[in-house]
């Protein structure tokens, strides 16, 4: 993220309430993760210790410190999704993408394919429980998902068997 963009984001947060998390959220939304350089720049500009920013980004599950692929697939692991087979969906996706669950260095589930096309993540709950199990690809929700639906969904994003 360049300095002008970061300045623009910071300028929209005048009040202290919700400021740090709000700025970090916007960086995360824009970049798909929080780049180290952005954290360093933010630390300088707001006069907040890097350690504090690091602590925030690792404490809150919304933030990620590892770069993501072109498309981010997020599987909801909420209770309704769990009882309706979210684990199977996740396993099927791992198999399709040829990756294996692992936790990244910041302790969060996020794994990217070697060609950097896809990143697979999990979420605690989207709050779209009525259409469980649910997954999200780049902001688009797919409800009532079955293993059989997955190839067609991923194909929309350029996945090839």
């Amino acid at each position: 993220m360049d300095e002008t963009t970061l300045d623009e984001i910071i300028s929209r947060y005048n009040a202290p309430s919700g400021r740090l998390l709000g700025i970090l959220r916007e960086i995360q939304d824009k970049e798909g993760y929080i780049p180290r350089e952005s954290l360093e720049m933010l630390s300088e500009k707001l006069d907040v210790r890097r350690s504090q920013l690091y602590s925030l980004t690792t404490f809150y599950s919304y933030f990620s410190l590892t770069p993501v692929g072109d498309h981010v697939i997020t599987v909801c692991m909420g209770t309704a999704c769990h009882v309706k087979g979210a684990v199977e969906i996740l396993q099927a996706l791992e198999w399709m993408l040829g990756i294996k669950s692992d936790t990244s260095q910041d302790g969060k589930f996020s794994i990217t394919t070697e060609d950097r096309k896809f990143t697979l993540e999990i979420a605690r709950c989207f709050g779209a429980c009525s259409m469980a199990p649910v997954l999200r690809v780049d902001g688009n929700l797919y409800g009532y998902a079955t293993k059989e639906d997955l190839p067609a969904i991923l194909a929309e994003y350029g996945w090839e068997p």
Partner: protein
């Protein structure tokens, strides 16, 4: 244009009514997150193209969600003089037929779910639509709706949440005007106390009392906060409340701020709800434009404004002290109470702070409008009013359900939800999210109120009801929640951080069929210890899913372990 008098509000109401009942056909597409995801946006776009291409005199708009999620996408049609018709399972391909029928003053019968000749918007405002279409069943005859009572969701799915005029049309902001123009702080707090309203976030603390304590705290500055973090997996009531009727929340906060003497309010909302954030921001801007937020609200001396702070995914931030830490830009780790939020030194930036859940705030306008007497007759003694639940999991009719407190689980799961999905047998229902418990079907005559749910080892929580059927492995459910709580533990106190981790290891071993009877004893003992010694509510309640499954589904554990 600022609204400063009852006459101003009335004239806005007229403008709003013109939008809801425009004197020509209106087609409204359900446009909450899930409605959009299952194709509501495609239906809307298609309808738009058809109407524009043919230059038809039909209003097309977007509304929130009426809660019958199973039947989405939902579309409703109003034709002047005819009842409002709710269409269900609408697809893009139906758009042509819908428009063709509406042009002829008809509706597509095969898509019709029910008809609404008149709708009571609760605050002295009933909208009459008309008669006809008698072949389509009445709204109140539909089993999913029959046992429900819409108080909080009274506008959801019927008005455009992105238009303040439509909220004003159905009686919106009249309660705030009544409070600011004709009541003082004491009168409002008394009214909320007498209503019997208790915290809808799940703990059930009397709202009026919390307001009184905050108001009486001797400080120049006070904050009020709305907790919209909705971290319980399996719960989405608050999302729909904000997406479908954001002004109801804002109006509740205006009344509360006036009663407690706060000039600033915050809505702490999870980042995972982009549509709710967008609609709240829009609603706040519109309210400012009308002089309902900002300086001199309704032309009175009272000034108050609301800002939005986003959460970033930490379940523990539902705990009040952690939530405040998060807004201040720190990690959400609870501290021991006192000091409580309402104390000097305990709240946001050390200022006395009142914190209420979205749904609690949403209850306020109707209490002020209709009076505490009206409100306290809903529900049962000590548990007044309604509660919205998200009925999900392995139940046939999934959706958002609003019932008077004291309604039995049987009514909710079987009468409204129609029992198990795909004809399977219901085994249990999980209430209260990770802090709650699993209640077996034989206890489904339990009334849903704060105390009765506690008595069976669970909690009310924020309103998630996840149904489990005969195929659900209850030990796996216990592990699911302990895994969740382990990941969400803030790590500050040992019982929660270490105790949950070891509970998880034990459950993993049991599920791998390597456990022994001794492990079950250890698990029970460890759970009791975590309950007794954890610092905050998250730790103290985290073992509930284990304790309830051990109590009610012991045989499932026994089958997995060696003697």
């Amino acid at each position: 244009m600022k609204i400063t008098s009852a006459a101003d509000l009335k004239s806005r109401q007229k403008i709003g009514l013109q939008k809801i009942q425009p004197g020509k056909p209106r087609i409204a597409v359900g446009f909450a997150t899930c409605g959009i995801a299952v194709g509501g946006n495609k239906v809307y776009e298609r309808l738009k193209v058809i109407i524009e291409k043919n230059g038809l005199d039909i209003d097309l708009t977007r509304v929130g969600c009426i809660g019958y999620c199973k039947e989405e996408p939902l579309v409703n049609i109003t034709i002047p003089g005819k009842p409002l018709i709710i269409l269900h399972k609408v697809t893009e391909a139906d758009a042509e037929e819908i428009v063709r029928a509406v042009q002829k003053g008809e509706v597509p019968y095969d898509k019709a779910l029910c008809r609404v000749p008149a709708w009571d918007h609760g605050t002295g405002c009933t909208l009459a639509y008309g008669d006809g279409f008698t072949k389509i069943p009445l709204y109140e005859k539909i089993p999913f709706f029959k046992a429900q009572k819409k108080v909080i969701l009274r506008d959801a799915g019927l008005i455009n949440p992105e238009d303040i005029d439509e909220y004003i049309a159905v009686g919106g902001y009249a309660a705030a005007m009544k409070a600011l123009a004709g009541m003082d702080s004491e009168a409002i707090i008394k009214e909320v106390e007498k209503s019997g309203l208790r915290g809808r976030g799940g703990a059930g603390f009397p709202t009026g009392l919390k307001w009184r304590i905050t108001r009486d705290a001797k400080a120049d500055k006070k904050y009020i906060i709305c907790n919209a973090d909705e971290g319980d997996p399996g719960a989405y009531m608050n999302r729909n409340e904000m997406e479908s009727d954001p002004h109801m929340l804002i109006e509740g906060m205006i009344i509360g701020a006036f009663a407690m003497g706060a000039a600033e309010g915050l809505i702490y909302i999870r980042a995972e709800y982009p549509l709710a954030i967008k609609r709240l921001k829009l609603a706040i801007e519109q309210a400012r434009e009308y002089g309902l937020l900002g300086k001199n609200i309704f032309g009175t001396k009272f000034s108050f404004d609301i800002a939005i702070a986003t959460g970033a995914g930490a379940f523990v931030c539902g705990e009040s002290t952690a939530l405040v830490a998060s807004i201040e830009g720190r990690t959400g780790r609870p501290h021991p109470r006192p000091p409580r939020l309402t104390d000097i030194g305990g709240g946001l930036f050390g200022v006395p702070t009142d914190l209420n859940n979205v749904e609690t705030w949403c209850n306020v306008p109707v209490i002020i409008s209709n009076g505490s007497g009206w409100y306290s007759r809903i529900g049962v003694k000590g548990n007044t009013g309604t509660k919205v639940f998200s009925l999900v999991g392995k139940v046939d009719r999934v959706g958002l359900v609003e019932v008077p407190l004291g309604t039995s689980l049987n009514t909710i799961v079987f009468d409204i939800g129609n029992g198990g999905a795909l004809g399977k047998k219901v085994k249990a229902v999980q209430t209260g999210g990770p802090s709650g418990g699993c209640i077996p079907v034989r206890l489904f005559d339990t009334p849903v109120d704060y105390e009765s749910l506690n008595n069976v080892g669970s909690i009310m929580g924020s309103g998630g009801l996840v149904v489990m059927d005969e195929d659900t492995n209850m030990v796996d459910i216990a592990r699911y929640f302990i895994n969740f709580a382990t990941g969400e533990s803030c790590g500050k106190c040992v019982p929660c951080r270490e105790g949950l981790k070891h509970s998880l290891l034990l459950l993993n071993r049991i599920l791998a069929k390597k456990g022994t009877k001794k492990d079950l004893e250890t698990l029970a003992l460890l759970s009791d210890t975590i309950v007794a010694t954890s610092l905050c509510g998250l730790g103290q309640t985290a073992p509930n899913p284990v304790l309830t499954t051990l109590a009610y589904f012991r045989e499932e554990y026994d089958r997995l372990v060696k003697p």
